[in-house]
Amino acid sequence: MTSPTLTAMTRATLAKDLRLEWRSKDAINSMLFFALLVVVIFAFAFDPTAEESRRIAGGLIWTALLFSTVVALNQTWARELRNNVLDAYRVSPAPPNAMFLAKGFANFIFVAVLQLLMAPLFVVFYSLRPIGPLWQLLVIGLLANWALVVNGTFFAAMSIRTRNREIMLPLILFPISIPALMAMVEATTEVLTGDYSPRFWIKLLAAYDVVFTVVCLLLFETVLNAE
């Protein structure tokens, strides 16, 4: 029997995860409602004027998205623990990275949907009108999404192995993500205020994405087999 290729395996696992999510809508519903709550709470906590909100919105958007991303990430592997799917996967000849990539892509799609739904909400609640070019926000959104999701998917696989599972994920993900978070917040703020070019921060985010994707792919097999 030949072992399945990386692409075929990734596609199959991704299709399975998306189908499950399409039927249950567990991750997206909990993320969306959670993000909505954070946005409303921030609005009460800071009560910003239009000018202020332009300056702080970058931070608010990404903190809200960071927190709600964790909600989705925690569900990533929990599903596979039941019926020992992970153990079955470990003994199968399928490449481990296919599993990781499929989970990563699935989370990427969930967070992208969340971003699409949240963006208009922010515009309405904080009366935002970006001064810089809008297409840059799209690039920042995609790069930032992957920056959170790639390490998040990886660390979620680590944290389900610990005693305090769901609490562990933010405890290890947030410290490592600080530079990425800083880059996405600063880049978004530069676009919203139009003061400076966000180019440096976009490059930093892109480099972060590349470096950590490679690190994750190199180390995932080790973590999957850690016993």
């Binding site: 680590m158 610990t162 290890i172 490592i176 600080i178 930093l204 180390l219 080790t222 973590v223 850690a226």
Partner: protein, 228 residues
């Protein structure tokens, strides 16, 4: 091995005592800052010791993932714990100095922020170790250490864009840089003393860890023997 440890411990104690004497008695009082500047003889060597520990931790983690030796893991754990302690000393002595000199306890400046982020990463590392079962902890922790290692350049780059308030390195800087020779001597003695001190504590913690592993092993073997 035991003798070497005792000799090294005594030498370290002597060095620390001499460093203290140099820093508090011999070194002249700084002209503008006064006596509070003397904290520098501990602040900078502690920072150096913390970075040394995190460096050792990164090397030991890679070594562990490559060879899976228990010794590499014991070194990684010992250096991470000692590094967090020294890093905490840096983060505590900094504000004590900054309050009278800058007028503020803390500022989100490049060096301060990077040190804080490094501290956060290694506290996360210790938490991960504590909450994972003894069989998995070494692998998971070593993996996180490698993430931390790759994170450092990004932390440094992103935070450097912020304005820097921390004093530039005094030695080897521009034209007006340079320490008074007596101050430099006191500083270098303390650097040496803290390096030895840091290695000594790692060594102690390492021996303790090896002993703990042996005890755990003995317990496991006895439990197996009883069942059989």
């Amino acid at each position: 091995m035991k003798n070497a440890f005792v000799i090294f411990a005594l030498a370290t104690l002597a060095l620390l005592a001499y460093g203290l004497y140099m820093a508090l008695v011999v070194a002249p009082t700084e002209a503008t800052m006064g006596d509070v500047q003397r904290i520098f003889y501990y602040h900078v060597p502690s920072a150096w010791a913390a970075f040394l520990c995190f460096g050792i931790n990164a090397v030991a983690s890679v070594w562990y993932l490559a060879k899976r030796g228990v010794k590499a893991d014991a070194i990684a754990l010992a250096s991470a714990e000692v590094g967090v302690v020294f890093c905490s000393i840096v983060l505590l002595t900094g504000p004590i100095w900054a309050r009278p000199v800058w007028g503020i306890w803390w500022t989100w400046d490049a060096r301060l922020t990077s040190t804080l982020v490094l501290w956060l990463i290694y506290v996360a590392y210790l938490m991960l170790r504590r909450f994972s079962g003894s069989g998995r902890a070494p692998v998971l922790a070593a993996t996180l250490a490698i993430f931390g290692f790759f994170d450092v350049p990004f932390v440094y780059l992103s935070i450097r864009i912020f304005r820097t308030q921390h004093p530039q390195p005094v030695m080897g800087g521009g034209e007006n840089s340079g320490l008074d020779p007596v101050m430099a001597r006191a500083f270098l003695w303390n650097m040496l003393a803290f390096t030895c001190y840091c290695l000594l504590v790692i060594w102690m913690r390492y021996r303790l860890q090896i002993a703990e592993q042996a005890v755990e092993q003995a317990h496991a073997e006895r439990a197996l023997g009883e069942r059989a």
